[in-house]
């Protein structure tokens, strides 16, 4: 654990030394949520804003946490620091654990900021229990996204090689995870593909809890799948991250 904390401390220190990067990575979802508000304001009366507001905020957190973590890890590889870490005795489980811990703070901050802004801007009125559940699900999605970033980074040797993964992961997330249309209106194969994406499970919880009179029994299974998604990606990443050439 000592090594994991050393890596996490170093990742946090690097993030803090980059105030511009840090500000941009928190400001970007806030600006996009605001633009979304301007767009939704043009919609006809009776348009169900709540159906889209929180899921879109969740998607932004998912996308940013995934991409920032993937690029940071690929930069480690291109700079040679990844190899140097291994030669100095850090192990791959410790590297992954350190990154998860290091990026958790940023992901939490992004989750709180994006969610708070969406609720405030769209004047959504939820009780305390719903707000906490929404935060937990967005946070879990952010954690799974960090894991996804780590996993994807193992397939890229340079930053540019991360970019093909962006449409590959984010576009199916937008169209197949229930963000824009209900998944039961999609062909069966597309519905299954959507279920392979973490945003599907997060959106499933969000759509349940923004309805009045929800109960935990309705959402626990999706919660479990989302958490399981994070664990599975962690295991996959620890298998694919190579210590030797």
């Amino acid at each position: 654990m000592r090594h994991t904390f050393a890596i996490a401390r170093r990742v946090v220190k690097q993030l803090l030394r980059n105030p511009r990067f840090l500000a941009l990575s928190v400001a970007a979802p806030l600006v996009i949520v605001y633009l979304l508000k301007l767009f939704f304001d043009t919609m006809p009366e009776g348009f169900d804003v709540a159906r889209y507001a929180v899921p879109v905020a969740a998607f932004l957190v998912h996308f940013l946490a995934f991409i920032l973590c993937a690029i940071a890890l690929v930069q480690e590889r291109t700079a040679g620091t990844m190899e140097r870490m291994f030669i100095n005795g850090f192990r791959r489980v410790e590297v992954i654990g350190g990154y998860v811990l290091g990026f958790l703070g940023l992901a939490t901050f992004q989750a709180v900021a994006a969610l708070a802004e969406a609720i405030w801007l769209f004047e959504l009125d939820y009780d305390g229990e719903t707000l906490i559940t929404l935060f937990v699900v967005v946070w879990l999605l952010a954690v799974a996204s960090v894991m996804l970033g780590i996993f994807v980074s193992t397939f890229a040797r340079r930053e540019a090689q991360v970019f093909p993964f962006i449409p590959l992961i984010t576009i199916p997330s937008v169209f197949l995870s229930g963000l824009l249309v209900d998944t039961d209106e999609l062909p069966r194969w597309a519905e299954w593909l959507g279920q392979a994406l973490p945003l599907f499970w997060a959106n499933d919880v969000i759509q349940e809890v923004i309805e009045a009179n929800w109960i935990f029994e309705d959402v626990w299974a999706s919660f479990a799948v989302l958490a399981g998604y994070g664990v599975a990606l962690l295991l996959l990443a620890s298998l694919t991250l190579r210590e030797t050439e």
């Binding site: 000592r2 090594h3 050393a6 170093r10 220190k13 690097q14 030394r17 980059n18 700079a79 040679g80 620091t81 190899e83 140097r84 870490m85 291994f86 030669i87 100095n88 005795g89 850090f90 210590e243 030797t244 050439e245």
Partner: protein, 282 residues
């Protein structure tokens, strides 16, 4: 005892053979130079020795340990300075050194970090971010990271490439100090004046060791052009590179009065190495 023993080490990347059956012995406590042109396989060999690369064939032993099987134990005892600085640019020199030091069970890490920053002459800029440093300073930070845990064996991959002569001289003073304290140094270089400073060198060409000896021993494989100015005429001959060859060549003259001048022009290490490589290529 040998710190490094390598037998028939081969590394292939598909059809490309980066190392083709390398045999190597490095005595403990030596400053060993791996000499060779760019693309000879120097970095590949170092990576196989530090356990960052899985050989296709062959046997490698470093400090009596297998770099892959005994990875954890070996990594506590070796230091590695890669060819590129491999540092965290946003962090300070102190943070970089402390981070790599934290990978080892370095006692009193904070104190040790300050000591090593002093040793590498970085104490004044210890808290500045590395991205503000010159190339030479970054190399010194990289060296400090490799030394922080007091390794028994140091692998330095072209440590003085693109470094000014003054800094290079300081690096070599530091390397000699470390060797005096008992560390074994494995240094790759393509600079012949640097190779002359090693106790022993091996010449690597296209993934194969084509010669191993002391720098003096390699020099003696070259020739010496001898010019004797005698009775207003010059007699030129090429003799062997060994000092005894010179004595033998001068003996017939007995340095008589009519010998007005003696010119001796020995081959440089570079020309000897090039000639060895040339012979190898036929």
């Amino acid at each position: 005892m040998n710190a490094i023993e390598v037998e028939r080490l081969t590394k292939r990347y598909g059809k490309i053979e980066a190392l083709g059956g390398v045999d190597l012995r490095v005595p403990e406590g030596a400053v060993f130079g791996l000499v060779g042109p760019n693309g000879a396989g120097k970095t590949t060999l170092i990576k196989a020795l530090v356990g960052s690369l899985r050989p296709t064939e062959g046997r490698v032993s470093v400090l009596g340990l297998n770099p892959l099987r005994d990875r954890a134990r070996l990594r506590q005892r070796i230091g590695y300075m890669p060819q590129s600085p491999a540092l965290y640019d946003d962090l300070s020199a102190r943070d970089n050194v402390a981070f790599f030091g934290a990978a080892h069970h370095t006692p009193e890490l904070r104190k040790r970090v300050s000591e090593i920053l002093e040793f590498t002459d970085l104490a004044d800029r210890a808290n500045d971010p590395v991205h503000t440093f010159s190339g030479g300073m970054r190399r010194r930070v990289s060296l400090a990271c490799a030394l922080v845990h007091r390794p028994d064996m140091l692998f330095l991959d072209e440590p003085t490439a693109a470094v000014d002569p003054q800094l290079r001289s300081r690096f070599w003073t530091a390397f000699r100090e470390l060797a005096r304290d008992g560390a074994t140094l494995f240094i790759s270089t393509h600079l012949m004046d640097e190779a002359m400073l090693c106790d022993r060198i091996s010449i690597l060409r296209r993934g194969r060791v084509i010669a191993s000896d002391s720098p003096r021993g390699i020099l003696e494989r070259g020739g010496t052009r001898l010019t004797i100015g005698r009775d207003g005429a010059e007699e030129r001959s090429v003799i062997g590179g060994h000092p005894e060859d010179l004595a033998e060549a001068l003996r017939p003259y007995g340095l008589s009065r009519d010998v007005r001048s003696v010119g001796v022009e020995a081959d440089s290490l570079e020309s000897v190495v090039l000639s060895i490589i040339g012979k190898e290529e036929g």
